[in-house]
């Protein structure tokens, strides 16, 4: 019986499609200790190797078992600046948990749920994270307050640096704030994680578009080092006919209106379009977030993806949750044209069926159009969730080097410019929160090595 994960409480699908509250409610103290007790505390823990920020996983789990949550929190925050976030949105099933020895026979330890439990308890009980060192007199500017920037800021502040974070939007958090929905990552949690960084002395300046308000050159002259964690915010479109129709949105727009601007609330001042039937095009986590958000607005929400379920890039758990919530999956289908009326309003799409082919160079099954499969579907809203690419507004008039793919070129985390470092989606292209955090961590380390 010890082979199975302890399951935390979860909102029923019927309830949760009517609200934006968190789907997973987390462990009770009893459940956490029970789950922690399943850990074998391996002498050579494989889980740690699977963690991009190398949290001492068996140690913090041991502290939970001993009911010493303060200690557990100290252990986690030595490696991670955003545990309440990671516990929720890291793809643990592909990282730490995928390597857990318990997973060979039965289910791995639910490391993510335990991390979240510790972080949530720390917030409730106001635990302090690892103490910052005395100030070393060095100043670092961080551009972007997403996971890469916040992690870099946290590590540097703990090491005694004075850190100023510049954010273009009116709220800190980057994708954690505008992108990932409330039902997966409550905004109060993000705010609390940001506040714990402020307690470490990190200053956050919102509303500041670096590149326009201050140039990168000015920052690199004013500060001992600059870290660029500007992410990948620019939404991709398909380039098909009719895509400029009024009710064709990027997933970013839908999510920003809902998350950042609180568009789901009845008395929200920012409007959100409420169609009758919407298609979200794409199969990643952002597509899942968008389609599940639309469902909660009472829209008949469909997901359209050109490959099959097995190839969906989204986390398995998110796909399961979406299905439970009644999201319809139109798989192996691809739009070729968006149909509009005389007012430029969406009335449907022309789509084709797709077939899977051989495994391509990128390790994914190729996909080809099925002959004579063109048909029409009706809808009044289309949302493009096709991925994003970096937006280099912050680099305006600088001589920073980019790769052929238009990403910031780095050696480890160093750019070609003196004292300018970069990491996260701006360097890798759109990836995950935890990989951005890993990059922020690496940059903090390299900055310390270079300027201390």
């Amino acid at each position: 019986m010890n082979d199975k994960k302890v399951k935390g409480k979860i909102q029923s699908p019927e309830d949760r499609v009517t609200n934006y509250k968190e789907v997973e409610l987390g462990y009770t103290p009893k459940q956490a200790i029970e789950e922690a007790s399943r850990c074998l505390h391996c002498a050579n823990p494989r889980c740690v190797q699977g963690c991009p920020v190398s949290i001492a996983i068996p140690e913090f789990i041991k502290a939970i078992k001993e009911d010493n949550l303060k200690k557990a929190y100290q252990i986690i925050t030595e490696s991670s600046s955003l545990p309440a976030v990671c516990g929720r949105v890291c793809p643990q099933e592909k990282q730490c948990e995928s390597l857990c020895i318990k997973g060979l026979r039965g289910e791995s330890i639910s490391i993510g749920s335990l991390e979240r439990y510790v972080a949530d308890q720390a917030i409730i009980n106001n635990f302090s994270s690892a103490k910052p060192k005395t100030k070393n007199g060095k100043r670092v500017a961080i551009v972007g307050s997403g996971p890469a920037g916040l992690t870099c800021a946290g590590d540097l502040a703990k090491a005694g640096f004075s850190v100023d974070v510049y954010e273009i939007l009116h709220k800190a958090g980057g994708v954690l704030t505008y992108g990932i929905p409330e039902f997966r990552l409550p905004k109060s949690i993000v705010e609390k994680e940001v506040n714990s960084l402020k307690k470490l002395g990190v200053k956050i300046y919102t509303d500041v578009p670096i590149g326009n308000a201050l140039s990168l050159n000015e920052l690199s002259e004013d500060y001992d080092a600059v870290f660029l964690g500007t992410g990948a915010g620019l939404p991709k479109f398909m380039g098909i006919k009719g895509e400029d129709a009024n009710e064709v949105f990027s997933a970013n727009e839908i999510l920003t209106r809902i998350n950042l601007m609180g568009g789901f609330k009845k008395d929200a001042k920012t409007p959100i379009k409420k169609g009758k039937k919407a298609y979200v095009i794409g199969g990643g986590n952002v597509a899942m977030d968008a389609v599940r958000s639309l469902k909660r607005l009472g829209i008949d929400a469909h997901l359209m993806y050109r490959r099959s379920e097995e190839e969906l890039p989204a986390r398995k758990m998110e796909v399961e949750h979406a299905k439970e919530e009644g999201i319809k999956f139109d798989l192996l289908t691809n739009p070729v044209e968006i149909l509009v009326d005389e007012n430029n309003s969406v009335i449907g799409m022309k789509v084709v069926d797709m077939m899977l082919g051989e495994i391509g160079e990128d390790g994914r099954r190729s996909v080809i159009e099925k002959p004579k499969s063109l048909h029409e579907v009706k809808c009044d809203m289309v949302v493009m969730a096709l991925g994003t690419s970096p937006n280099h507004g912050a680099l305006k008039n600088s001589k920073i080097k980019l790769t052929d793919r238009g990403l910031i070129d780095v050696n480890n985390t160093k750019t070609n410019l003196k004292n300018v470092y970069a990491g996260g989606d701006a360097v890798t292209g759109a990836a995950t929160v935890i990989l951005a955090m890993e990059a922020g961590k690496k940059a903090a380390k390299e900055i310390m090595e270079d300027i201390l």
Partner: protein, 283 residues
């Protein structure tokens, strides 16, 4: 968090207002043609407004806005402090960005309604850099002509057009432009989409380069949402990061007109809601 003090927020006419805000970081490097996004309160909508005037030494920014819905009406209730001023956003006007290149060129600015607000700093900046521009300014009636005294201080030649003839020429800005079309090398038109469309229809015929400033719906203003996409030269371009100014010959104005109506119904509902909320507040 930066605190933005509001020096004044005054009504100019029936539905236009002017606000001056202390925002040193916004104006430190700002240029004519760029815009800012204002939020009255923490839960407010983000309102993009092109910069009207700025004083780098004093760190002051001025904007002019027209009440066209609930969120702009909410702005009229701002006093003492405003929650958020993000900017400068977008790109500088290309003539202002490199005035030397345009020395000796005959430039005419065309403004419609509140479009005079973004025109003013450009004409002022170019004058400071040795280029005198003409201005043609139109509105429905004399009541709606804004900042006339300010403009007349910096403009060599300013002509007015009103639909009803209550001031200047009776008719449209294009009626005036038509008569002197051969006097200009470059036209910059800023105002309602339909006005910019009509100006371009005229200048294109005579092959006079025309810059227009697009003001589509916008959310973040940082290139993240794509709500502000315009069709330019057959390709989608984001007004926030690629604009807001574009080559007028290449803009699809008909599409822009349609895309402004995306949230028409929702906006009307929100305005009703906002009126109720604001009725309890004092200006």
């Amino acid at each position: 968090m930066i605190v933005y003090k509001v020096l004044y927020n005054k009504q100019l006419n029936k539905d236009s207002w002017e606000m001056e805000i202390k925002a040193p970081l916004v104006v430190k490097n700002c240029m004519p043609g760029q815009f800012v996004i204002l939020m009255a309160k923490e839960d407010s909508e983000r309102i993009p407004l092109t910069i009207y005037d700025f004083d780098r030494k004093k760190g002051l920014l001025k904007v002019i806005y027209q009440v066209i819905g609930g969120s702009t009406e909410e702005l009229t209730y701002v006093k003492d402090e405003i929650f958020s001023v993000s900017g400068p956003l977008g790109n500088a006007n290309e003539i202002c960005a490199d005035p030397k290149k345009y020395l000796g060129k005959r430039i005419c600015y065309i403004a419609g309604g509140v479009g005079i607000a973004p025109v003013y700093p450009q004409v002022k900046y170019l004058k400071e850099n040795g280029i005198d521009c003409d201005v043609i300014y139109g509105a429905r009636n004399v009541e709606l002509l804004l900042i006339r005294d300010e403009c007349e201080k910096i403009v060599n030649k300013i002509s007015y057009a009103t639909d009803d003839g209550s001031y200047g020429t009776k008719g449209f800005v294009t009626d005036i432009l038509k008569e002197r079309i051969n006097d200009y090398d470059i036209v910059v038109a800023i105002g309602p989409v339909i006005m910019m469309k009509n100006v371009v229809a005229l200048t294109k015929k005579f092959g006079i380069d025309t810059i227009v400033s697009m003001n589509p719906l916008m959310v973040d203003g940082s290139g993240m949402c794509g709500a502000c996409r315009c069709e330019v030269d057959g390709k989608p371009r984001f007004a926030c990061i690629h604009g807001p100014e574009f080559d007028g010959f290449k803009v699809d104005f008909d599409l822009a007109l349609k895309r402004m109506k995306i949230y028409h119904e929702e906006e009307a509902e929100k305005w009703e809601m906002m009126k109720k909320k604001l009725s309890k507040e004092k200006r």
